[in-house]
């Protein structure tokens, strides 16, 4: 009855895929095919601009997940968490896809003029964009993007490879060193993610001001990262691995993190909204005005309900977080909502001046949005799945693994 001292032995647990399986290869092929088809054929009379809009959306969605998992790894080290060791390798591998994402960012840099109006400002924008030129200039933009991926690749691959080295050596000093490194790494992470949010998304509306924008995206990153991590843990268990190591206690904690970041996202989103609403300054409110006119108000409403109200009410209790089935629904739901959130951030048009009611028009969903998410997502999954197959699915000689295996919520 008592579970005290009755933890499982990790070395008796299936914790390694025998081989990569065809899944990764198929995902990669489908991914390449979808992206190529989208780029070459441009269905539905799309132009390069439409393709790049859809590509940016899909790319940011995958990048969010990877960055979210990188944060997960860093924060577990910095707080010296014991509970999370059994799922940390999965997060390390998802974050470890950063070299692929560095490769996939190249189209955005190459076709940046299709996306970012500040590179080719209209007369209305010129005056303000000129003032922002010290930051918003072509050279610095490219340097920044390169810097982000240098930092993220260094962090994610560094923490992953150190963890893999520990699998071989069992050296507890690695854990100590990673814990020390995690704190400065988090500072680097916070700065780069904040500025990346500005460069990738806020720069789509160069006339706009919001100082909290980076935190807003960060909240979405962690939310989708942990949601995806929970799904990968379920997938790994579904294939017969770590079946006893990952328990409902661990899922419960992943659920708590998701719930916390649902609320945190709302807190940040409302903080941004309320200040702009209260001050009522035209160059700030136009961003929201566009998102409340035409059909866009429906997207705003769905976000309010779906990104906050519904998950808040349904998942505040501990029971749905402790059941795999309901947690699966929660994870899929937050991923969908994060995608919609990115759509809401990136897709609406810059406000024409003067903004006429309804001028924002309908919601420009496009077939390319689906093709791009299949494409980028397929490549991402191919990387993650094959990386998972190459190594143990758990940091098997981490000194805190035993605590993680015995972990229990009260």
């Amino acid at each position: 009855m008592a579970s005290h001292g009755h933890t499982i032995d990790i070395f008796s647990e299936p914790r390694r895929f025998d081989r990569a399986g065809p899944g990764a290869l198929i995902a990669a092929l489908i991914g390449v095919a979808a992206l190529a088809a989208g780029f070459v054929m441009k269905p539905g009379g799309a132009d390069l601009r439409q393709f790049m809009n859809s590509y940016l959306l899909a790319y940011l969605f995958v990048l969010s997940i990877s960055l979210g998992c990188l944060f997960f790894v860093l924060i577990q080290h910095v707080v010296a968490a014991g509970w999370s060791v059994v799922v940390r390798r999965l997060a390390e591998q998802i974050a470890g896809a950063m070299p692929l994402l560095a490769l996939l960012v190249i189209p955005i840099v190459v076709f940046r003029t299709e996306l970012y109006p500040w590179l080719n400002p209209t007369d209305e924008m010129k005056h303000l964009v000129e003032h922002k030129r010290p930051y918003l200039n072509d050279t610095f933009f490219i340097i920044r993007i390169a810097a982000y991926f240098a930092v993220w690749t260094l962090l994610s691959r560094g923490f992953l490879s150190a963890s893999l080295r520990q699998d071989a050596s069992g050296d507890a000093a690695i854990t100590t060193r990673l814990r020390t490194l995690a704190a400065p790494s988090l500072i680097l992470y916070g700065v780069t993610v904040s500025f990346a949010a500005v460069d990738f998304m806020k720069a789509l509306s160069p006339m706009w001001f919001s100082t909290i924008f980076g935190v807003y995206w960060f909240a979405g990153c962690v939310l989708s990262g942990v949601g995806f991590l929970a799904l990968v843990a379920m997938w790994v268990q579904g294939r017969g691995q770590l079946t006893r190591a990952i328990t409902k206690e661990h899922y419960h904690d992943l659920g708590k993190l998701m719930f916390a970041f649902v609320v945190f996202w709302t807190y940040i989103a409302f903080s941004q909204y309320m200040l702009i609403w209260y001050a009522n300054i035209p160059e700030e409110t136009r961003w929201y005005l566009v998102r409340q006119s035409g059909d866009w108000w429906k997207v705003s409403l769905v976000l309010l309900l779906g990104h906050f109200c519904i998950p808040f009410v349904l998942f505040i209790s501990r029971h749905p977080k402790r059941s795999k089935a309901t947690l699966f629904v929660f994870a899929v739901w937050v991923l969908l909502m994060h995608w919609l959130d990115l759509f809401y951030l990136t897709r609406p048009p810059e406000a024409p001046e003067p903004l006429l009611a309804g001028s924002a028009g309908g919601i420009p969903l496009h077939l390319l949005d689906a093709l791009c998410i299949i494409g980028v997502g397929g490549l991402f999954w191919a990387w993650v799945a094959s990386a998972l197959a190459r190594h143990s699915l758990v940091p098997e000689r981490d000194p805190w693994l035993k605590e993680s295996l015995a972990f229990e919520n009260y």
Partner: protein, 440 residues
Amino acid sequence: MSASTVTKKSAATAGPATAPHSLVAEFASADALVRACEQVRNAGYTRWDAHSPYPVHGIDRAIGIRATRLPVLIFLCGATGTTIGILLQWWTNAVNAGVEFPWVPTFLQGYNFIISGKPYWSFPANIPVIFELTILLSAFGAFFGMLALNGLPQHYNPLLRVDRFRRVTDDRFFISIAMDDPKYGSATRRLLEGAGAAAVEVADDVKESAPPRWFLRAHVILACFLLIPLAVIAYMRVDKQTQPRIHIVQDMDNQERYTAGKQMANPVFADGRSARPKVAGTLAREDFTQDPHYFQGRIGDQWAVGIPMYHPELQKLAGGAAEVNEQLMRRGRDRYAIFCSHCHGLDGAGVGRVATYTTEREIGFVPPKSYVDPDVLVRPVGHLFNTITNGIRTMAPHGDQIPVADRWAIVAYVKALQRAQTATLEDVPTDERSRMTQPK
């Protein structure tokens, strides 16, 4: 150990009287504790507990502790906070209680404030307060609820009278079963010993005890000290102060400034003037001459005699009507009560609270004239409007405080006041006149 217990019991005659309170069993390991707990639980005891130096996995189930009710309590507290947050803001700012709920005493009424031009009830502005109150009350619920459900603070625990029990914070594990447990009996000791207890002892509790003398005295003295602030406040209420009050938060209230009276040159400006001339190309409020009827109450060089009901802002106050109607009058009465009545009185006789007080105390203060003063009665509405806007004699200008349309609504209401107090029988509708003339 048992010998020392005996010694203690025999010595009890000297100290306060004691009675057995509970049975304490010591265990050497956490595993032994968990196994023993399962046996005690299965035996059906209810008033008992396990004690350990650190959290033990599985102890909750072994004791059979039911899930805590704390989350429910926190939820209820949080929901209360949400409700209070909503009601508080609705009542204090979104309700014109003086009009909508006139039976509510004044000190309980809220007040419609326009803040940043937002509606009285605007949800985005209300959310932070609702949120904070929800969090505050949830935190109170969690903190105090946890203390209450655990029976804390507990300054004294009879178990600590057992010397052996003190190792519970170090390296020993204990089960205590209270003797008022309905299951308690001679079998209890056997159960604990059978469950692997290393030792079983009786914990005594003092039957009754009074707190020491110094404790009571200290409280009396402390209570006396607590009365000092109350005494000071009471004294200040009746004492006459000749010095200005201590001005702790300055808020730039007493800063150096250039005034006309000082006749000083201001070094900041080249021409030495601190009151700046108008910036070229700008227009002061009073110089705004477009539509002089509406904005200044003038037509040509004459005071206007009609209320400019053609103006859309004024029509908005009248509910869309292009004539003076009851809605506009109500608006006027409302604004009059806020901006005018403190001096002019609710009836316009010029004996409002502030006017009376100031007339008594301030030399040079010209009290307001009654609205039915013959001079005032003949003034055209444009003149009244101008007086509200720019002030007259000691009356301050109110143009900055009252929007134009509201000033006209007040004018309309002032005219109604005049009319009401100079009415003759002819003003009463014919079918009502008989009621006025008939003796009772």
